[in-house]
């Protein structure tokens, strides 16, 4: 099977859907001429000249206008430059996009997609390194997808562009260049279906995004020590595949949740809480979460490494849980 990058897979998904559906258009900062700061739109350059354009740095209007455009029957894809900047226009998302349909008693279909990069990179520091997906799980009204591989991003984004509900897609900036197998034939990935990236019998690790790869690395090492790790990539946070996680915990009796975002009150706490509530009698040890340390992201790379979780933390957590 051919291998393409995460960014290329994303581009393909958007391209294919734009070809099919004339109501799709996309805009954001630095997308049209540059093809996106991480090259996500490179393949779209020049293809749909009227349907891709650059915007001023006006986040409230970028996100809010996506809502307005959806209400008049279009299907916009609004890019956020960095997930951190969702906050500069946050009212449009949390107070408008997430509320309108409910507040109006179900009038209107808000088919829109907000997408952009999140997570750490090379010392991008505190305002350009955040992972804030937890907030959009907490505040009801938008679906959250977080792909970790080229295969996943293509399938998920295509589904998002056929959804009638608002979707936000977080793409870890360090994954754009990673390659993976992607079939030529069209496929969709439904929301709320996790992917067991590796099977194992001793401990379940629930994770997403960059941490999926860290978990697989940890799993490989632990395999040599005779510990079987089951790595579950949730792929979507809202909705999330509770069934698969609980089935796995029933099998392994041990759970670790790993995410890059801050450990305290991160979405890992929600998963852990639900599992202990619904699979209490299957747990042979407490559930342990792996997450970032509770400080803003420091600039110095040594410091950044220290506060950011990686495969070693997952190994430690797995061992602790299996002690």
């Amino acid at each position: 099977m051919r291998e393409i990058t995460f960014a290329q897979a994303l581009g393909e998904a958007i391209f294919e859907e734009m070809e099919k559906d004339p109501t799709i258009f996309t805009y954001g900062e630095d997308v049209a001429k540059q093809g996106g700061i991480f090259g996500a739109y490179k393949s779209l350059l020049g293809k749909f000249p009227e349907r891709i354009f650059d915007t001023p740095i006006s986040e409230e209007v970028i996100y809010g206008s996506a809502l307005g455009a959806a209400l008049v029957g279009m299907r916009p894809i609004a890019e956020f430059h960095f997930a951190d900047f969702l906050f500069t226009g946050i009212q449009s998302i949390t107070l408008q996009i997430e509320k309108i349909r409910y507040m109006t008693g179900g009038q209107g279909k808000l088919h829109l997609l907000l997408r952009g990069p999140d997570g750490i990179s090379n010392s991008a520091a505190a305002q350009h390194s955040e992972s804030i997906e937890t907030i959009f799980m907490h505040i009801p009204g938008i679906k959250v997808i977080i792909p970790s591989t080229p295969y996943d991003i293509k399938g998920l984004v295509k589904t998002a562009l056929r959804e009638d509900d608002p979707v936000i897609c977080f793409e870890h900036k360090m994954l754009y260049k990673t390659k993976g197998p992607v079939p030529e034939k069209e496929y969709l990935i439904p929301f709320g279906v996790a992917d067991i990236k590796k099977e194992g019998n001793d401990v379940t690790v629930v994770t997403m995004s960059r941490m999926v790869h860290e978990s697989l690395k940890a799993a490989e090492e632990l395999e040599h020590k005779g510990i079987g790790v089951e790595v579950i990539d949730l792929r979507t946070l809202v909705p999330w595949d509770k069934k698969t996680v609980i089935e796995s915990v029933k099998k392994t009796n041990h759970l670790v949740v790993a995410h890059e975002t801050w450990k305290r009150a991160g979405w890992g706490a929600e998963i852990a809480s639900v599992v202990q509530e619904e699979a209490f009698d299957y747990l042979d040890a407490p559930i342990i979460r792996v997450g970032g340390k509770n400080v803003p992201m420091p600039f110095n790379s040594l410091l950044q490494d220290f506060v950011t979780p990686n495969y070693k933390d997952i190994i430690k957590a797995a061992k602790k849980v299996l002690r």
Binding site: N253, F280, D281, Y282, L283, D284, A285, R323
Partner: protein, 383 residues
């Protein structure tokens, strides 16, 4: 009113077991109708009702050892009141087995471990399912927490007591067999010698005479026992006395539904082949049908056991105490044999396995026994 008492079969029976009641309390019974099944050490028999009427009360419980003469049931007129029976039936507990469901539910927190037993939810779940007492389980997790593996370790260590099983109370017969064999195994010094014997001519001869191999063996055995009479003896290890008998009574191990029985052919040396054959047939049949009399299953001075009908060639039969030896014969198989120094012929061979008590009999004796026996088998003269 009629009191039914525990019957005595044979002279030596002191107690027996009620295997099965054929009627329930309140049912009508007729005189002569089979009422219950009773077993002793040696045999099991149906007991017919001595009277007609209503089975008012059953006091004797199934599978419990009851002394001979104890009242086990009352037959009377329907509605009749039963007076207090003087002799209470007190069955002896034979096997103390705990039935499932009688185990008290697992306790979770006991005062011993500073007020709180730490156990993972999974461990508690398993303990609850298997009705285990958590306070008995040692925890090896952090802070002494009991984890699944600790519960499993505990389970395997007490598997004898708490593992699921089906309860089958030993019948009287089985119990006896168990007892005696155990006794033999632990007191006698049992060794087994074997030799392969050519049964070709022997087999032919038995066929001609229309008698079984077993019968032939019994006949031949009696000759050898007469000569090497040390084998025709009982050993009393307490008194350290060897009793060598004049009479040769050969017991033949018979496999029945109820277990192993050993009917005895008495005075074999005085019988001819045909008679032996008939006797064996008769007694074996009676044994299998459960109607053999006590007298016919005791008094053996030597025992023969034939596993030849099944796939066994060599085996180590256990001596029937207080006898001093036992002969086993295995399957007869066609094999190529060298005769006349360099010719190959197809012959029918079987192994004789002679187990003997080395306290009394030496290896050389045993070898001699087998030698003589083999000779008679391989060179059957006119019988």
């Amino acid at each position: 009113m009629y009191e039914i008492k525990m019957p005595r079969f044979g002279l030596t029976m002191e107690s027996g077991f009620i295997e099965k009641w054929f009627k329930e309390e309140g049912e009508e019974v007729k005189e002569g109708e089979p009422l219950l099944e009773v077993s002793s050490e040696k045999i099991t028999n149906e007991v017919a009702s001595p009277a007609s009427g209503t089975l008012l009360k059953i006091m004797g419980k199934e599978k419990e050892e009851i002394k001979v003469g104890t009242v086990i049931a009352i037959i009377g007129k329907e509605g009749e009141k039963i007076e207090k029976i003087k002799e209470k039936v007190e069955p002896e507990k034979i096997v103390e087995t705990i039935e499932r469901g009688e185990i008290p539910p697992a306790k979770v927190a006991l005062p011993e471990r500073d007020g709180r037993i730490k156990a993972s939810p999974l461990a508690k779940n398993i303990a609850r399912e298997k009705n285990l007492d958590l306070s008995q389980i040692k925890g090896t997790g952090p802070d002494g927490r009991i984890e699944k593996k600790d519960v499993l370790v505990y389970l395997s260590s007490v598997s004898g007591k708490k593992v699921e099983f089906k309860i089958e109370k030993l019948s009287g017969l089985r119990r006896t067999i168990a007892e005696r064999l155990s006794k033999s195994f632990h007191t006698a010094v049992t060794l087994t010698n074997t030799t392969e014997v050519d049964f070709t001519e022997f087999k032919k001869l038995m066929k001609e005479n229309n008698v079984s191999i077993t019968s032939g063996l019994v006949f031949v055995l009696s000759r050898v026992l007469k000569e090497l009479n040390k084998f025709n003896a009982h050993f009393d290890s307490d008194k350290e006395e060897l009793r060598i008998f004049n009479d040769i009574n050969i017991g033949i191990a018979v496999d029945t539904e109820k277990g192993l029985m050993v009917p005895v052919i008495k005075d074999v040396d005085k019988l001819n082949l045909k008679t032996i054959n008939e006797q064996i047939k008769k007694l074996a049949g009676e044994a299998r049908n459960g109607i053999i009399s006590e007298d016919d299953i005791k008094g053996s001075t030597f025992t023969l056991t034939n596993l030849g009908m099944m796939r066994t060639e060599i085996f180590t039969p256990v001596i029937n105490p207080p006898e001093v030896a036992i002969l086993g014969i295995g399957r007869i198989i066609k094999k190529p044999v060298i005769i006349d120094e360099n010719k190959i012929s197809i012959r029918e061979l079987a192994y004789l396995s002679l187990s003997y008590d080395h306290r009394i009999i030496d290896g050389a004796d045993a070898a001699k026994f087998l030698e003589k026996l083999a000779q008679l088998i391989e060179n059957p003269g006119p019988k």
